[in-house]
């Protein structure tokens, strides 16, 4: 148990890539809030634990007016108190603030949350509705992919050998646009999503939906987009029948499992409820934001 592992703390992306290239059984970590419990639960220990938090680029938040860049290992606690991100991506920020507890959030990160590839992770649905891009470093240099394309199943990703997420790029949302994230847990905190729902809505000048994105967590092997719900909203006010259609489409889009945290029927029903509520909240925020971009 956490006995004979070596620890490495590179300070540049290149150094980390080299380390991973020279040591086949190395594993990167950011907050290790998933890794340590997994090892304690019996997962084989890596020979080398590579701490990404000493690399400045991975723990930075910056914006150039059109795009925000968030380091993959940035503590979610920092995201929670970032005014610019809170204004542009309130749903992503509220998802970041739901992970574990205050103590966990001082360690947990967007990169870890996505790369751990838990179907129940809180921030991936919000990354996905905001069309976040993941910048990935590896032996072949850097590449950029949609955040939606990183996780491929429970515990599996499209990351290649020696690759890790460096940062996320999030474009400043257009006018009258906002997101929201809701999750269902039996407690008020310190829990894992039974269902999670992220929504992003762009309204036109008349208050009708011009664009929408809805993504569900914990109801399928990976985050589920709900195109039927999105198209049901387009051109309509986010109310009444349109919201009922969102709820029905979201429930229908799920592919959940029965486990100790929830049942198929419960997850399906609640996914619809949370999707509908998330759309309502996002639309209300979008109205409040008005023409601000």
């Amino acid at each position: 148990m956490l006995s004979a592992m070596k620890y490495a703390s590179p300070t540049t992306v290149a150094e980390a890539v080299d380390l991973l290239g020279s040591e086949p059984d190395a594993r990167v970590y950011a907050g290790a809030t998933d890794l340590i419990p997994q090892i304690r639960a019996g997962r084989p220990e890596p020979a080398v634990m590579v701490d990404l938090k000493r690399i400045e680029r991975l723990c930075a938040i910056s914006g150039n007016g059109s795009t925000y860049t968030v380091g993959a290992a940035t503590p979610t606690a920092d995201i929670c108190v970032h005014d610019g991100l809170a204004a542009a991506f309130p749903g992503l920020v509220e998802a970041s603030g739901l992970i574990g507890s205050d103590q966990i959030q001082s360690r947990s990160s967007l990169g870890g949350n996505l790369a751990n590839a838990s179907p129940a992770a809180d921030t991936p649905p919000s990354l996905i509705v905001n069309d976040a891009r993941a910048v990935i470093a590896g032996p072949g240099g850097e590449r950029t992919v949609a955040a939606a394309d990183v996780a491929t199943g429970p515990g599996t990703t499209s990351l290649g050998g020696g690759e890790f997420i460096v940062e996320f790029e999030l474009d400043q949302p257009p006018a009258r646009t906002a997101d929201a994230y809701l999750r269902l847990i039996p407690r008020t905190e310190m829990d894992i999503a039974v269902v999670g729902a992220a929504a992003r809505v762009t309204l036109d000048g008349d208050g009708r939906v011009a664009a929408a994105a809805i993504a569900l967590g914990a109801v399928a092997p990976t985050v589920v987009r709900v195109p039927d719900a999105e198209s049901a909203l387009i051109g309509n006010e986010p109310a009444g029948d349109a919201l009922a259609a969102v709820e029905a489409a979201a429930s229908a889009a799920t592919n959940p499992i029965d486990d100790k945290r929830g049942t198929v029927a419960y997850r399906r029903q609640v996914a619809g409820v949370l999707a509908r509520r998330a759309v309502s909240i996002a639309a209300e925020r979008a109205r409040e934001r008005g023409g601000q971009s």
Binding site: P186, R187, E189, M190, D191, K260, Y266, V270, V273
Partner: protein
């Protein structure tokens, strides 16, 4: 808020000084069992069964013994054989399995090595060959005609006619009074309901831990946290076949027990490993082990029938209770039977209770064992009756509540009790009539626990400067040091902080039973008072000598010896002055009190709970909670309130989310605080604790135990509140979001108020 009736005016009892052990605990300096380390110590790890039910064919320890750092390996055969019928047979074969494992997590061997990693590696290398048997995992499976029998010797006790074949029913308890059929015939309304509940864990934060150091002289010292170190000594002695004098147990601070540390798991293994290795051995359970191998409170199936007249008079009650106690005989059903109808005047009743064994961890006590579940059934049914009859739920309870002189179902008449006062305290609280918001509901429920006395000892030593040390044998699991100091202060007339309350080890103080049945402040408090009263007599005698007076002319007033005779004026003598001259007046000032306490006053509690239900997700949040409880006399009101609030917190968790989840092979699926969901702080509102003081006539200060009763009403209070908010009666625990949403959906959708 405190509701009191006239009582003597005390100087210290009833005040709220800072607890003596407080600073060390909040700064993290207090030593709990896992904080203790000894030079040269080894680390012990238990090898546990992966199977819920299996015969042990063979155990091969040779590979483990040859591994780096390994100093000792032990198995069941290293301990004296025990046969069914042995006084502590179950405890012995639970601490380490012999021929069979009876649940997943059952200890089959233990390893001691220089490091914990080495011990873990060696534990994994112990080869156990199992003949896996079909597992019995539910009450229904246990009672099925063709059920596998866990214990070939288990002939049902209390069966009529006597059992001729072994079965999984360890015990049947029957009580009755009046004429049941005649009672139901008098009823205008009869309802019968069934309930199921799952095992739950006590959820103490501190895992079981100990260090044992066995010398070449064959004597051992154990440092551990427990609810009773004398019991650790006797159980360890029994399991090892040792004389009591060879074992000294030194209590560490305890990080929660709630009943779960009234039994032992690790200590005999640590002693045996230490004896074999010749080194101290430390053992600390992981949380996973705590869940799999210790604790849980029983799961149940309950069926109750109640008959009531149209004016609200309860006339008949019939209860059929089945409790699982895990893989061994246990008292769940017996205790359920003893509590189910105890709070109300029900002239005609029958109770039949079965204790059933299944292939899960051996149940341990948990705050008012069994009572929260019978209360869940009875108190939700009372609400149904009240609604059906058009009688207010509070009025129905007031009408039927037991009071002084009423016969209990156990046959004895109640002495002075405070049930009605607890009901009235809640009725008169602003919460009772406060408006509710949308989707909110309010639930009322009462609870009862009988409390117990047992053996306690205390020693009072006066120090050279006139301060005092009070040594007792009760571990401080809920602020009892402060309570002991307050009672001693009241008797001796000195400030509580001039008294050092100490928990003495098994060689430092007289025998003291486990801290259970809410008995420490009651019974050990009586021993302290007895010792102090002897001390006061001694102090008066010493002062008389110093004054040259007769002892009968010396009173003890407010911490001073005061001359009351007619031979002129004499200056009073302080405790310090008397202690300073002790060498010239007879030597050290020491007094002891040892007693078997009788008259533990029953505890009653009445709770009022507001919930808000998300009608679309089934999530229930407790938004307001008020709890009254009869403490007799609150020695330190802050810790009485803490006990009430803690009981509520645990009861709310039991109501809403806590449960053991097993897979089809009996392997526990949620052995962590992530998936075994106790409430977190943000799940609960501030709990308004109302201390009701109806003094217990059997205690010098009127104390009733308060540690347990507070966990009895929360489950039905929450259930009744959920009904009020949703129109749905939930009769299966836990009332999780899934269950609540299913009920709302089955009921035709949301029914928000």
């Amino acid at each position: 808020m405190t509701v009191t009736e006239p009582k003597p005016s005390y100087k210290y009892v009833g005040t709220r000084p800072v607890r003596h052990d407080g600073l060390e605990k909040v700064t993290g300096r207090a030593r709990f069992a896992a904080d203790l380390n000894m030079s040269g110590q080894l680390h012990g790890i238990v090898v546990r069964s992966p199977h819920a039910h299996a015969r042990i064919v063979s155990i091969d320890t040779s590979e483990a013994e040859a591994m780096p750092g390994v100093k000792a390996v032990i198995i069941g055969d290293d301990f004296p054989a025990v046969e069914p019928g042995h006084r502590q047979y179950d405890m012995c074969i639970n601490v380490i399995a012999r021929d069979k494992v009876l649940y997943e997590g059952h200890a089959v061997a233990a390893v001691a090595a220089s490091t914990r990693d080495q011990a873990q590696a060696a534990a994994a290398a112990v080869k156990v060959e199992y003949d896996v048997l079909p597992a019995v995992l539910t009450i229904d499976q246990a009672l099925a005609p063709d059920a596998p029998v866990l214990h070939a010797h288990m002939m049902t006790a209390g069966a009529n006619p006597p059992a001729e074949e072994p079965s999984n029913i360890s015990n049947i308890t029957r009580f009755s009074g009046g004429e049941l059929d005649a009672g139901f015939a008098e009823a205008d309304l009869v309802i019968e309901r069934e309930f199921t509940t799952q095992p739950v864990h006590q959820g103490y934060i501190e895992p079981h831990a100990c260090v044992a150091d066995t010398g070449q002289d064959g004597h051992t010292t154990i440092w551990c946290s427990s609810q009773g170190h004398f019991n650790v000594r006797s159980s360890t002695a029994t399991l090892l076949g040792w004389e009591t004098t060879r074992i000294r147990v030194i209590p560490a601070e305890i990080g929660g027990g709630f009943g779960g540390k009234t039994t032992i798991y690790l200590e005999p293994l640590a002693v045996a490993l230490s004896a074999k290795a010749g080194r101290p051995v430390k053992m600390v359970m992981t949380r996973d082990e705590v869940f799999r191998a210790t604790g849980p409170a029983p799961g149940t199936k309950l069926r109750i029938k109640l008959g009531v007249q149209s004016d609200g008079n309860l006339v008949a009650g019939d209860a059929y209770l089945i409790y699982t106690n895990g893989a061994y005989a246990g008292p769940g059903g017996l205790l359920g039977a003893m509590t189910v109808f105890e709070s109300y005047k029900i002239p005609n009743f029958e109770v039949e209770a079965l204790d059933v064994v299944i292939n899960t961890a051996r149940s341990a006590a948990y705050r008012a064992p069994a009572a929260p579940l019978t209360a869940y059934a009875l108190e939700t049914m009372l609400d149904e009756l009240a609604e059906e009859l058009g009688i207010d739920a509070m009025d129905l309870r007031l009408k039927n509540a037991v009071a002084e002189g009423d016969p209990s179902t156990m046959g004895f008449p109640f002495a002075r009790i405070g049930f009605v006062e607890c009901l009235e305290a809640v009725r008169d609280h602003p919460h009772f009539t406060a408006p509710l918001g949308p989707n909110q509901g309010r639930g009322l429920a009462a609870g009862y626990w009988f409390n117990i006395g047992e053996s306690s000892s205390a020693t009072v030593n006066l120090n050279e400067d006139g301060t005092a040390t009070v040594v007792t044998g009760s571990p401080d699991i809920g602020g009892s040091r402060a309570s002991m100091a307050l009672m001693a202060a009241e008797e001796l007339g000195i400030d509580p902080h001039d008294i050092r309350p100490v928990v003495g080890d098994t060689e430092a103080v007289g025998f003291t039973d486990i801290t259970e049945g809410s008995r420490a402040t009651f019974a050990t408090g009586m021993a302290v008072v007895e010792a102090c009263r002897k001390m006061v007599v001694e102090l008066r005698g010493r002062a008389a000598k110093m004054m040259g007076a007769d002892i009968d002319d010396v009173d003890w007033v407010d911490g001073q010896a005061v001359y009351t005779g007619s031979d002129g004026d004499k200056d009073p003598l302080s405790m310090a002055a008397i202690c300073a001259k002790a060498k010239r007046t007879g030597g050290p000032l020491t007094a002891t009190g040892s007693l078997e306490a009788h008259g533990a006053g029953p505890g009653f509690a009445v709770h009022l709970c507001d919930v808000e239900v998300d009608q679309e997700t089934g999530v229930v949040r407790v938004v307001r909670y008020t709890a009254s409880q009869d403490a007799g006399t609150a020695i330190h009101p802050s810790y009485v309130e803490g006990q009430i609030q803690g009981g509520v917190a645990q009861g709310v968790g039991w109501a809403l989310n806590e449960e053991y989840i097993y897979d089809s092979d009996g392997v526990m699926e949620n052995p962590s605080f992530l998936d075994y969901r106790v409430p977190v702080a943000s799940d609960l509102p501030m709990i308004d604790a109302i201390i009701v003081e109806v003094p217990n006539p059997a205690h010098p200060y009127g104390v009733r135990g308060v540690g347990e009763t507070g966990i009895v009403p929360p489950i039905p209070a929450v259930a009744n509140a959920i009904y009020d908010a949703t129109g749905c009666r939930l009769r299966d625990l836990p009332m999780s979001p899934i269950r609540v949403l299913e009920a709302i959906t089955a009921n035709g959708g949301s029914n928000g108020s």
